[in-house]
């Protein structure tokens, strides 16, 4: 742990939250950063060590979990739906194409959910919820719902 220049002695807590070389890289050590954040927002408890997670993150996580249940229901709905729908085509190509169409319809819910999850990692909660909601609207498993309703 050799250092080119030894910093002036500080108390042990401060030292523990600092990496050698922070100043050289222009970085700000966590302790200083939290102090600055605390000063910048008056009325905030200055004893607090770390800033709380923004409320948006919690809403986003809640929406992600909530929509997981909805999309699971969509996948189950499509599994039931393809039992109802059927192709009247006789030739092999049409049969295979129809089966493929049914298969991708089954996985459509899972695909949409995973795509939103992977492609909106840093988006705002509203953006993610918007894509989730659009998918629910598009992928309603109508074949089984119409049979249940009739």
């Amino acid at each position: 742990m050799a250092r080119a220049s030894q910093p002036p002695p500080e108390d042990d807590d401060d030292e523990a939250l600092r990496w050698a070389g922070d100043e050289l890289r222009g970085g700000v050590d966590p302790l200083t950063r939290n102090r600055v954040a605390g000063v910048a927002t008056p009325g905030v408890d200055h004893e607090m060590d770390a800033a709380p997670a923004p409320a948006g993150n919690l809403a986003r996580a809640a929406a992600t979990v909530g929509f997981a249940v909805v999309y699971l229901a969509i996948v189950v709905g499509w599994i039931l739906s393809v039992q109802i729908t059927g192709s009247t085509a006789a030739d092999v190509f049409s049969q295979v194409a129809w089966q493929f169409g049914e298969f991708v319809a089954i996985i459509s819910g899972a695909l949409w959910y995973l795509a939103v999850l992977t492609l909106t990692p840093d988006s705002r909660a509203a953006v993610r919820v918007g894509w989730f909601a659009l998918g629910v609207g598009v992928l309603v498993p109508w074949p089984v719902l119409l049979v249940v309703a009739s």
Partner: protein
Amino acid sequence: MSKIVVWVVFALLYAYPLFEGISNLIALPPFYAANGIGAAVPWWLLIIGVVAPVLLYLAALWIGRGRELFARTLILAVGLAAANALVLSAVSWAGALQPALK
């Protein structure tokens, strides 16, 4: 280059729900007319069947622009799955709305 391969492969895959939509649009109205229910042709469902695959393909290309290949492919796959789901939904709606044959 690989980008174009993905576009072409998915264009072929999207062609099937599009073909299905077009064949429904062509075959259903005469079938209804022959059975005396020509006035009940569900035109909006037939139009959705043709338009949805095309719109979803174009939308997938548009949303995927500027992204890496994996994201583009994933978005095209999602659109393809949605197109097939929509075509099946349109077919089932048409069946549910069809009046009794005369």
